[in-house]
Subunit: 244 residues, 4 copies
Amino acid sequence: MVRTTLVQIDNYGPWTVTPEPRRETDLQALQSSIYADLSTAFGAHESLVFFSRFDNVVCFTEDVSVDEHRAVQRSVGNRYPVTVSMGVADGETPKEAVGRASALVQNEGSAQDSDRKERLVSDLSGTDSLQVAHFDIENATERYTDEIDAYGCHLLVERAGLALMEEMWERDATTFFVGGDNYISVAPFLDADEYGEVVAAVEERTDVELKVGVGEGGTPAEAGMAAKHGLEDSRNGGGRVEFY
Amino acid sequence: MVRTTLVQIDNYGPWTVTPEPRRETDLQALQSSIYADLSTAFGAHESLVFFSRFDNVVCFTEDVSVDEHRAVQRSVGNRYPVTVSMGVADGETPKEAVGRASALVQNEGSAQDSDRKERLVSDLSGTDSLQVAHFDIENATERYTDEIDAYGCHLLVERAGLALMEEMWERDATTFFVGGDNYISVAPFLDADEYGEVVAAVEERTDVELKVGVGEGGTPAEAGMAAKHGLEDSRNGGGRVEFY
Amino acid sequence: MVRTTLVQIDNYGPWTVTPEPRRETDLQALQSSIYADLSTAFGAHESLVFFSRFDNVVCFTEDVSVDEHRAVQRSVGNRYPVTVSMGVADGETPKEAVGRASALVQNEGSAQDSDRKERLVSDLSGTDSLQVAHFDIENATERYTDEIDAYGCHLLVERAGLALMEEMWERDATTFFVGGDNYISVAPFLDADEYGEVVAAVEERTDVELKVGVGEGGTPAEAGMAAKHGLEDSRNGGGRVEFY
Amino acid sequence: MVRTTLVQIDNYGPWTVTPEPRRETDLQALQSSIYADLSTAFGAHESLVFFSRFDNVVCFTEDVSVDEHRAVQRSVGNRYPVTVSMGVADGETPKEAVGRASALVQNEGSAQDSDRKERLVSDLSGTDSLQVAHFDIENATERYTDEIDAYGCHLLVERAGLALMEEMWERDATTFFVGGDNYISVAPFLDADEYGEVVAAVEERTDVELKVGVGEGGTPAEAGMAAKHGLEDSRNGGGRVEFY
């Protein structure tokens, strides 16, 4: 069982153009500051936080209580010109959990409903442990960053990432870009063969070679750190798929 | 002519795993804080700033001097545990400018070379004006955000975005996700027919309908704000492509 | 019993002038960002955090474990160019607790010792509840902010604040400026007569009239919120000293 | 002539307790984040920014235009739940400039008037150069930080600071705490004898020995950096008062 929190900014689209469109660099600074604060606050509770679409942030929050969610929600409301609603749900797989968390928020009203404000809804049945996979691109700096232009790299990372997201989603895992050439999945308990198939499929579709470290643990932070160590093993002479 | 700045974090990959892997939420908070600060600092100089891969941030910096770049670079070095190098170049198109800015940084050493630190290199010939296009997805909230799960939306926005980025790159434009269902291009001076072709191509490839506002101006902020007004015109009964 | 954490930036003075003096606005942004993060992180654990001298931040951290402190310390180290050491100690009074926390840090080495880095030392015996007092100046906006110049107000608030700090320190309480015309004390369990004496003494010394709300609770956040409600009672027709 | 900007948060006091008192750590994080952003934004324009009372921030903004002020004001409004009003004025001395800037803001309405929102008023006649003095306490780390408890140090720095502020204000200079044991004055063009008298007066009143570096320049950042170099000269064997 895995716990997912969907954090959705209330009525954000309309706010960005009311009374007239707001300057883009201000919006970028606002969104990334909120995301930095969510990372700090949920990070203090051993979670993982992904920016996803920035106005919809997806968190994995094993063991984080509803009261602790409320404290984070209140803090955003006290520090920013916008508020957030949250849905918190447990599921057998990340796919199921994110589906349930999304439905909880949607049941409260539209993302652009000005009456829906600071809702916090949850449907919790308990969690135990989870699996995290940390992917990156084989020799990305030598092959790409130092060789081709920055936008070519950007596109290449996007293409490989989309293929990876689609392959993993078919296996009920949610995968997010985390910067550089890195992608992190919260996955059901896939085995090494399945990761091998995913890596092969991405290479077949995009010509980009990935490697991956996989870790498990009682909290997202613990499983995520194990995945990072697995990836280090891969970098230091290990295989393309390394469980830690 | 358009001016592009590539901001690259020095030796970032190695730093994230030295002496051992650092916690992901800390890295996310760090990256997004640096990006928020770059948005604020270059935003004060009428620029546009895109997170791209977070360790490689792409900025459009018409009229921003080398000294003003140096002040931003110094401020990052004084406030964060990492430093940045910058390449600043002018080009006939965004594609050409980003290529030149990338080459300037690459010539200084690898992104993972511990001896390359806080370089600032430029090749400036002067700029005049530029075109910005602001895309979003037709009725995204009603059709997707309020209807399907958050990760399904995430994937859909990624797919449409990648198709858009590829179509625009063929036309020498650089396009970046800016949150929600929004994408912003800095483009050579494309006309309404070309934008119509791009929107049609994305729909054909992904089934997602885009609309776009287009603006021009002497600074990225000015052109970007005009593009937002064009998009508002489209939302308020205008066509799928609206020049402002 | 009350728990105090002294957070001291390691070797900060030398860092600010190495290799040459750093720009003041960068240092101000750095210090206040670290303080904002400490407020967010300890605030998530029901604490109170005071900027004190910025390079020495004083926190009241009832019930916050050593592991939770370590997570905050690690996060600062991962996000900023400086590190922090921490001393955590319990005491019968705030004065005793801050004395013990200070001694723990001092025993690890000088604040300007380049070998002392990221120490975390504690001496905990358990806590139960504490008292917080929230002071402000009677009619500060009408009498001062709207009437005299900003620096005159600044000086007046400083004078009243210093008198208040000294009067409370004689009673084993630690008192900090928190912005505007507000001061917060973490106090041993003083009674209404003692607060009346303090308010009278400050008026006698500086001609500034204070009022105060007093609250008690199991955590600093709870006691602090009760104190705010007491102050609201005072504003709404209550006396100069209001227990909640 | 010196230019001062008073930045005042609109209707802040009432906001902090509406609909009920907000958590103190949230308010501290909010205030210090706004201050960090003001430091970054005005710092990009070679200014100096002092937190003063946090809801009233005092800036020295030689050469910063009204339009540039408006961009900073807009950015705060787009990123925070509160707005700011600004008064910008030139004066023969810092005292005169801060008086004029304060009067401009006061004329727009009370700091707690809910109808006064995002005003920007200015009265500019041109500026030329200014003098900045950077004070710190002789051997503060060895004598105090490493020897006595953190709150005892806090009180000692407050006492010396208040005496310094009062002595300098009599000489038409505005002086602010900037962290640690450091104070910065923006001063009319005082000479070495006058600084000697100030340092002697503070020692007589509080037993605390100060030293000071003094610099002059066309912008606050330039004069402030010269003052820091003067203070370094004092640290490295120079006298108690060093002009750079």
